[in-house]
Symmetry: C2
Subunit: 358 residues, 2 copies
């Protein structure tokens, strides 16, 4: 069961709620755009479904709706930003803009962020670079759900990486993925359907292979990209670790098993090696390496060649990273955004809480 | 069957061969160090086993032993380097040094390289940053052996990524991995043993799962990290693509299916969208973000915590990326480097060719 909403309906609602928790108009606008970009692009787990979670974090005083986001350290190509416990949805675009400005000046810009919170989908922030003929990079750490290779202990979040690369006539190349075999959102979908997970997504508390989509509630863990050692899980573990270190250790945020949890009912870890969640952003000006026009023509050539690659039996065509999300966005802008019943119910509670209409 | 050589024996031999093909002393020294670092660290497929391959490329006039490596485009934080068809073993450390110098000046340095050749192990170049309290990044494209998700056509190389991160009392974190489920070198080991490959490493010409370690000779392909769509192969495909674009498209090198092959007997692709192989390097000065000492203390904390993570049943301990290679290096510096018989025979032919002793 689901209900269809127009983008504008959801936009008005979210914007109102962010104003209600005390954001100024600019910040409410930014947070709404970032959050709903997930719904537009079909990454439903990271969109409006999380609005009530952000509200609960604010109620628990773990989110500051009026943050003083500031640069605490910088060089011509780098900055460390303290998000002042702001909404990640607001802190992240602010930090990415600093990276873009630095790239304008010295070719590239790199910003590590501490004291932040969940920032929506990584792809949104990486894509901010595209209109400036830059490549964009965004990553974030997150609370621990993933066991390193050979371990049964949750040490890493799903720690996503997004990379956006402009082309000329072809749409941009946009990769945005969790460094696990499957994102947690995929498990949540199976939970709602009462379905099993494929072998290789999760393990149980003993480290044995499991297909139980609810295994994370039973001390199980998500597996790094690669699934097991024989299939390269040490690579997924390394990637997740790199995201954690760039986002957390470099910025002065918390890291590893100590990253603050998203659900407000989960207590904060007793020991905290740094402040809040960490992110890392990069902006790379194309013409710091070669003519942007030339590059984009070659990207068209690259993309066209990959689209032409012979499909395997049973498959239609080869996809370019970003294709499915872009197609979903076109459709949903036209036909509306389907929201599952349980999320609608959740949003109604938020509406009641603030005495507004959904 | 294998024979043990001391590092010094192999060093003298390689150095002599690089001089014989016309390298100057400095370049011969650099090339030898880079090549043998693979043997020291246990990545036997990328070390002296490839010496005869480099010689054959030089004989085919695909390697210039006296390159004029130059910067063809730059900004304060970036450079594009033309390797002048030099040995990748020489071009890569040169380019990485430029990245390090730029990081000294403006916080980070990023260098994209065209017109180069195979550069040995990515880890060597990334690790050059460590002694400067920097993080190092190295990647390269390579000739196409990997089919994108849903495809049967080889479009990408094994396109490795290396990231080196300094710690204080703990050894550095050094990840260095192909963006495929298994590196091609792992397949070669199975071929020599006449053994099957695990399910998930390769597919046959039709795109069906295969365990034939010789399938690449029968139009099969390596699979991206993740193995299949259900287990995230689109993520491995995206990672390999990002390496290709950063290394090839950004620098003006060839890319995708048109990257020049390593074996000299394989003809060059007729169409070449750019010059030679491409690499990409990054150097990130830690104190461009926070005190290097503070960072390294937190890295020790990170590493110690991950070492303590509970191992799964049947496993000893959790490894930190770089642990196995570092342990191998300690052992091999002491006890010598085992070289398999077929490689020894190959080296003897090289020795004869140049009338030197092995």
């Amino acid at each position: 069961m689901q209900k269809i909403f127009s983008y504008n309906q959801l936009y008005q609602f979210c914007h109102t709620i962010f104003l209600k928790i005390g954001c100024n108009t600019n910040d409410a606008t930014t947070a709404t755009k970032v959050l709903l970009n997930a719904d537009l692009r079909g990454i439903d787990s990271h969109g409006i479904a999380r609005l009530s979670g952000y509200v609960r974090l604010w109620e628990a005083k773990r989110i500051n709706a009026t943050p003083q986001i500031k640069i605490i350290h910088e060089t011509p190509s780098t900055a460390t930003v303290d998000g002042d416990e702001g909404l990640g949805l607001v802190v992240a675009p602010h930090a990415m803009q600093i990276a873009i400005n630095k790239a304008k000046n010295v070719g590239t810009g790199w910003v590590s962020v501490c004291n932040s919170n969940h920032f929506g989908i990584a792809g949104y922030h990486a894509m901010m670079a595209l209109e400036f003929d830059m490549m964009g990079i965004a990553m974030t750490n997150a609370s621990a759900l993933v066991a390193p290779t050979f371990s049964i202990e949750r040490m890493l979040g799903t720690n996503p990486i997004a990379v956006a690369i402009p082309a000329k006539n072809q749409p941009a190349f946009v990769a945005d993925f969790a460094t696990t075999t499957a994102a947690n959102g995929k498990l949540e979908i199976l939970q709602r359907k009462n379905a099993d997970a494929p072998v290789g997504w999760v393990q149980d508390a003993e480290g044995l292979s499991s297909t139980d989509a609810n295994i994370l509630k039973k001390k199980g863990a998500l597996l790094p990209l690669g699934t097991d050692r024989e299939h390269g899980s040490h690579k997924g573990y390394a990637l997740g670790s790199i995201v954690d270190i760039f986002s957390g250790v470099l910025s002065g945020a918390s890291y590893g098993p100590w990253v603050p949890p998203f659900p407000a009912y989960v207590p904060m870890p007793e020991y905290q090696p740094g402040k809040g969640l960490g992110h890392f952003f990069g902006a790379i000006r194309i013409d710091a390496f070669r003519s942007a026009n030339e590059f984009k023509e070659h990207m068209d050539n690259w993309i066209e060649q990959f689209r032409k690659a012979k499909p395997a039996k049973g498959f239609d065509k080869v996809l370019i990273p970003g294709d499915p999300e872009r197609e979903t966005e076109i459709l949903r802008r036209k036909e509306g955004i389907p929201i599952v019943e349980s999320v609608v119910e959740d949003l109604k509670l938020v509406a009641e809480k603030f005495k507004v209409l959904l």
